[in-house]
Symmetry: C2
Subunit: 270 residues, 2 copies
Amino acid sequence: MENFDRLAIHTMTTKPWDLPTAVEKYSRAGVRGVGLWRQWLEGRSLTESCALLDDHGIKAVSLVRSGFFPGLTPEERQTALDDNRRALDEAAAVGAPQVVLVCGAKPELSLAENRCQITEGIAACIDHASSVGVKLSIEPLHPMYADCRSAVNTIGQCNDMIDQLGDAWVGIAADVYHIWWDPHLEQEIRRAGKRIIGFHVCDWLTPTQDFLNDRGLMGEGCIDIRGIRAMVEQAGFSSSIEVEIFSNRHWARDQDEFLSDIITAYKSQT
Amino acid sequence: MENFDRLAIHTMTTKPWDLPTAVEKYSRAGVRGVGLWRQWLEGRSLTESCALLDDHGIKAVSLVRSGFFPGLTPEERQTALDDNRRALDEAAAVGAPQVVLVCGAKPELSLAENRCQITEGIAACIDHASSVGVKLSIEPLHPMYADCRSAVNTIGQCNDMIDQLGDAWVGIAADVYHIWWDPHLEQEIRRAGKRIIGFHVCDWLTPTQDFLNDRGLMGEGCIDIRGIRAMVEQAGFSSSIEVEIFSNRHWARDQDEFLSDIITAYKSQT
C-alpha cells in the first residue's frame, strides 16, 4: 500500500480503452500516473489531451515511443529523426519528462551498423531534447528483438552509449521483461546509477506463446521483479513503477477486472 | 568447396529421416560428420549404431544432448546426473568426442539458484567425462530460453563457469542462433579460445514465427555467420561446422532437396 502513489499504467496495457476512458478508469482507481502511448494522442489536440490528464489528476510519466533510428537510406534515417523530434515536442506538450526510445534495427544491416546508426540518431536529437526539456530514455530490448526492433539489448550497452553521448539528456528505461535474464544485470544497474529514469514491470510466462503479445501480469511468471526493483532503487531510482503489459489474453478480458488485478499485483508483487 | 569436409549435420535437422536413412543420404552426398541426437540411437544397440556410422564413413562429431541439471528436489537432480553420465557413455560408445549440454532451468527457481545447480551438476560429471574420454560441451542458449531451457545464456557466462570448473573436460558449443546478438561476443570468444569445441550454424528469421522450430537455413536470415566463424577460428577452432536447424517449414519439405540446399548454403554462406 505504501507505494501505491508510484504506480503508473501504460495506455497500451489496457489497449481496449481509449484515452478518455483510460484516464477516467485509472483516476477512479486511484492511479495517478500514465505511460502515454502516442496512438492515444490521436484524434484531439495535444492541449486537449493535456487537459484530459489534468482534469483527472493524472500525470504522464513517459511518452511511448519513438526511436527506430536505423534506416537503409539517408531519407529513411532523416524521417526517423524528424519523428523523434516530434515525439519530444509531444512529450513537452503533455508534460511527460521523457520519451521512451525503442531504438530500432534493420535485419538487412549488420549489428555494428545498426548500433552505430542508433548512437548517431540519439546524438542528433540531444539538442532538441535540451531545448524542450524532455529526456531521451533508451529502453534496451530483449535479445529476441535484436533483428528488427532494437539492436540495443542490455543495460551494459546503454551505459556504453551514454558514456559516449553524455548524461545530460539521455537516460535508461529498465523494463524487467527485457533485462531479467542478464548475468551482468546487477553490476550494470549499479554502473547506470541515476541514468535509470524509467522502470517498467510485467512478467515472463512459461511457455511464452507469442513473441510480442504474451506478457504476464506481475506474479504470473518467473521474473524476480522485487529483486530488480531493489537493484534500481539501490542505484538511486525513486520514480514511477510503470506497468507495461502486452497480452492478447488480458486484452480479451473485462478491462475493469484487469485493472483491479493490476493494482493487486502491483501491491503484492512489485 | 575447400572446407566441405568440415560439414556435419545434426540428425534433428533432417528430422523426418531415421538414422539408417540419414547416414545413407548424408554419405551419398559426401557429408562425413553427424551431430547425433540421442533419440536416433533408440531401437538398436549402441554397437549397431556405431557400425551403421562406420559402414557409411560417417563420424559422430557430437552427441546431442544432455544437461537439464536444475531440479526442484534432490531426486530430480540425481536423475539428471544419472542421465548425463549415461549420455557420456553413449557418446563414448559411438565415438563422439563431446556431449552437448543444454543446461536447463526451472522457472520456479531463481536464476541464481538455477545457475548454481548447473555449475554443481557439471562439476559432478567431470570425473565420469574423464573416465570415458568424452568432453562436456556447454551450449549457451538464447536468453529467450532462460526461463525453462537454459539459464546459461552467453559465452561470457560459459567462460566464468569454466574458470571455476577447469578446462580439462569442459568446453563450449557456440551456436550462432543463440549468441549472434551479444554485444560482448567478440571479446568473449577471444577469451574462450580453445574452449570452443563446437560450432553450430543456422539463421535467424525475421519475423520468427515460433520460439523453437522456426530457424532458418544459413543465408535466409540476418546472422553474420561468416563473421562469427572468423571469430571462433581466430580463437583456435578448426573442427566441424555443425548444421543444426529446427524448422517446421524445412521438415515439411522433400528432405533430399533440403539436404541439397544445406550443402549449397554451407558452401556459400558459412
